[in-house]
Amino acid sequence: MKIAVCIKQVPATTEVKINPATNTLIREGIPNEVNPFDLYAIEEALRIKERLGSGTVVALSMGPPQAADALREAIAMGVDEAVLLSDRAFAGADTLATAYTLAKAIEKIGEVSLVLCGKQAVDGDTAQVGPEIAENLGWPHVTYIRKINEIGPSEIVVERMTDDGYERLAVSLPALFTVVKEINVPRLPGIKGQLRAKKAEIPVWTAADLEVDPGRIGLTGSPTQVRKIFYPQHETTAEMIEGSPAEQAAALLEKLRGLGVA
C-alpha cells in the first residue's frame, strides 16, 4: 500500500501572531517545526506500513524551500520518500488552492491508496485542507480519526471521534483521513533516521512539474479573503424553573414554544 502524508511547516510557537493589516500569519524570526498534529499522521502511516509488513510512505509538503526541513524530520521518523512542492507561483495560496496543488501532487505520485493528514494546522487552524484534497481527488474522506481498526485491500475500518463518543466507519479505498492526537504517540526520530534525513535528497516539484491550472494555484487561485479571525463560541446556558411540577411543566412548555421548538 502506498500512503501519502501531507505535512505543514508551522511556526514553533503556541502564540501565533497575526499581521493586523493583512490578517495573515507573521512568520519572520520564528523557528519552524512540523505541525504537531501532522506528527500523528506520519506515525500512523508508519504503523500501517509496519502492520502490513510492506508498503511505501511518502511525505508531502507545500511551502517555501525551508519547508524541506519539515520533510527531513518526516524522513528521520522513517518515511520512505519526501516531496516538496515549492514554486513562487504557489505563494499566497488559501486552503482551496493549497488542496488543489496537493491533490495534483498526489495524482503525480500515483497509485496512492491512502492519504493521511493531521486534523488541522496549529497556525491557521482551519482543518479544511484535508477534506478539500479528498474532494479534489474525488475520494471519500473521514476527519478526526482516533483509531484504525482493520485494514483490508479495498476497505479500511476506522473510528471517528465525535463530541459525545465515536463513530465506527468502513471506508472504501482510496480515501483520505485526518487524525487526532488520541490515535498514537509519535515516535522520536532516531539517530540513524536523523543521519539518513541529513543526507536525503528531497525532490522539488514546481507548478510546471504538476501540470496545474495556473488560475487555481497561489494567490490567483485563492478566493478567500480573511476579514476577521475568531473562535466560534458555543455557549450553553441553564435556567432553573421553580414552582410545583405542574407550574414547571407549563413554564417549560411556554419557553419551548417561544423558541419555536415545541
Binding site: 522520536l188 532516531g190 539517530i191 540513524k192 543521519l195
Partner: protein, 385 residues
C-alpha cells in the same frame, strides 16, 4: 562549558535529553514508588537507536565509544538514574563481548543489544565476593564440550530482565584470580534461575536480582576470552565502564542543581527570593563548580579511552570516584536548599539523593577506586629514576 562535541554527538545528546525530559521525567517518581522496570522507556531508547551508540556499525551500532555512552547516561540520569542504570548495565554486559568475544560471539549477541531487542547484564559480585573479586565461589567444571556452573551471583543489575549474561566463575580455584573464567550465559538455559528482586534505597526503577546456577551446562563456545582470563575480563570491563558511573553521577547532580536553582529563585522568605541570600548563592556556586569539574574529568577520561590509550585504570577510577562523591554532596545540598520541601517525595531531590548514594558503592566502592588510583600512582613513581 563548551566541550566541542561532533555533530553526531550533539545529535545523540539532544535526543537523549529529549527522551529524558519528555518520556522519563513525567514518570520518574512513579517508577521509583512502584519499583517498576522501565520496559516502555527501554523500547523508546531502542527505537531512538541509542542502545547501540558504543557498538561498532558492523554489528548494528552507531560506531561510537565510551564517550557517546557517557553522553546518553548523563542525560537519562538527569531525569531518573534508575532508568539510566538499566540502560548502562546493558553496556556493562556488552563490553566484555565487545572486547573479548570471538567474531561469532560478537555477531550472535551485539546486533540484538545494539537494536535494543535484548538487554545484557554483567555477573561478578557474590555474597562473599564484592570488592575482593578473587573470592568468587561460583564454580565452572569442564565436562567434555561443556562447563557445569554452580553457585549464586548477587545484586546483579538487570538480573531477570536481561537475556545475555557474561558471568565470572572459578574454573581452577587453586590459582586464585588466575583461575577465573568468563562465560556468556543466556536466560532460559536449564539450571539458570533468578532469586527475588531486591528492595533498594535508590535507583528503584532498576531491577537487581540474584542469579542462581544449579548444574547449569554451558557449551565451551560460550567462554569469553580464554580459560583463566576471567579476572582480566572483569577488570578491563570495569575500567571501561567506570566513566559511565561517573556520567550517572554528573547526570544526577545536574538534575539536582537544576531543581535547586529554580527553587531558590522562586522561593521567597523575608520578602525576597532565597537566591538573593549569599548563604544560598555560595552553596549553588560550589555545587555548579564541583559538577563542572566532575564533568570535565569524566568527559576527558571517556575521550582518552576512545582514543585508544592502553592504560587508563587510574583515570577511570578517578572519574568514578570524583563524580560520585560530588553527586552525593550536591544532592545533599540540593535537599538542604529546598528545606522541608526537599525532604518530601513531592519534590524530586530526595530521590536524587537516594539515587546518588549507589554511585559511591557499585562498580567498585570508592575505597577500592582509591586503592586502584594509589596503586597506579605508586607504580608510576617507582618506574621513575
Amino acid at each position: 562549558m563548551e566541550y566541542f562535541l561532533t555533530e553526531e554527538q550533539k545529535m545523540i545528546k539532544e535526543l537523549a535529553a529529549r527522551i529524558a525530559d519528555e518520556r522519563i521525567k513525567p514518570v520518574a517518581a512513579e517508577l521509583d514508588e512502584k519499583e517498576e522496570f522501565p520496559w516502555e522507556i527501554m523500547k523508546v531508547l531502542a527505537e531512538a537507536d541509542l542502545c547501540g551508540v558504543y557498538i561498532p556499525q558492523e554489528y548494528g551500532g552507531l560506531g561510537g565509544g565510551v564517550f557517546e555512552q557517557v553522553l546518553v547516561v548523563e542525560e537519562l540520569s538527569r531525569a531518573c538514574s534508575g532508568v539510566a542504570v538499566s540502560y548502562a548495565a546493558t553496556g556493562l554486559g556488552a563490553f566484555p563481548i565487545l572486547m573479548f568475544g570471538t567474531e561469532e560471539q560478537k555477531k550472535r549477541y551485539l546486533p540484538d543489544i545494539a537494536a535494543g531487542k535484548r538487554l545484557a547484564a554483567f555477573a561478578l559480585t557474590e555474597a562473599n565476593a564484592g570488592s575482593d573479586a578473587g573470592a568468587i565461589e561460583t564454580t565452572a567444571v569442564r565436562d567434555g564440550d561443556y562447563y557445569i556452573l554452580n553457585g549464586t551471583k548477587q545484586w546483579i543489575t538487570n538480573g531477570g530482565e536481561a537475556e545475555i549474561y557474561p558471568v565470572i566463575a572459578m574454573t581452577d580455584r587453586s590459582k586464585g584470580p588466575r583461575g577465573a573464567t568468563a562465560f556468556i550465559v543466556e536466560k532460559g538455559t536449564p539450571g539458570f534461575s533468578f532469586g527475588k528482586k531486591e528492595k533498594k534505597m535508590g535507583i528503584r526503577a532498576s531491577a537487581t536480582r540474584e542469579l542462581i546456577f544449579t548444574d547449569c551446562r554451558i557449551p565451551k563456545e560460550n567462554v569469553l576470552g580464554r580459560e583463566g582470563m576471567g579476572f582480566i575480563v572483569a577488570m578491563k570491563t570495569l575500567d571501561r565502564t567506570r566513566p559511565g558511573i561517573g556520567a550517572q553521577a554528573i547526570g544526577i547532580a545536574q538534575g539536582a542543581l537544576d531543581v535547586a536553582v529554580k527553587y531558590a529563585r522562586e522561593r521567597h522568605q523575608f520578602g525576597v527570593p532565597i537566591s538573593s541570600f549569599q548563604a544560598i548563592q555560595h552553596m549553588l556556586a560550589d555545587m555548579a563548580t564541583q559538577l563542572e569539574a566532575a564533568r570535565a574529568l569524566v568527559y576527558a577520561t571517556a575521550r582518552m579511552i576512545d582514543a585508544g590509550v592502553k592504560e587508563f585504570s587510574k583515570e577511570a577510577a578517578m572519574a568514578k570516584l570524583f563524580a560520585s562523591d560530588m553527586a552525593m554532596k550536591v544532592t545533599i545540598d540540593a535537599v538542604q536548599i529546598l528545606g522541608g520541601y526537599g525532604y518530601m517525595r513531592d519534590y524530586p531531590v530526595e530521590k536524587m539523593m537516594r539515587d546518588a548514594k549507589i554511585t559511591q558503592i557499585y562498580e567498585g566502592t570508592n575505597q577500592i577506586q582509591r586503592n586502584v588510583i594509589a596503586l597506579e600512582l605508586i607504580k608510576e613513581y617507582a618506574g621513575r629514576k
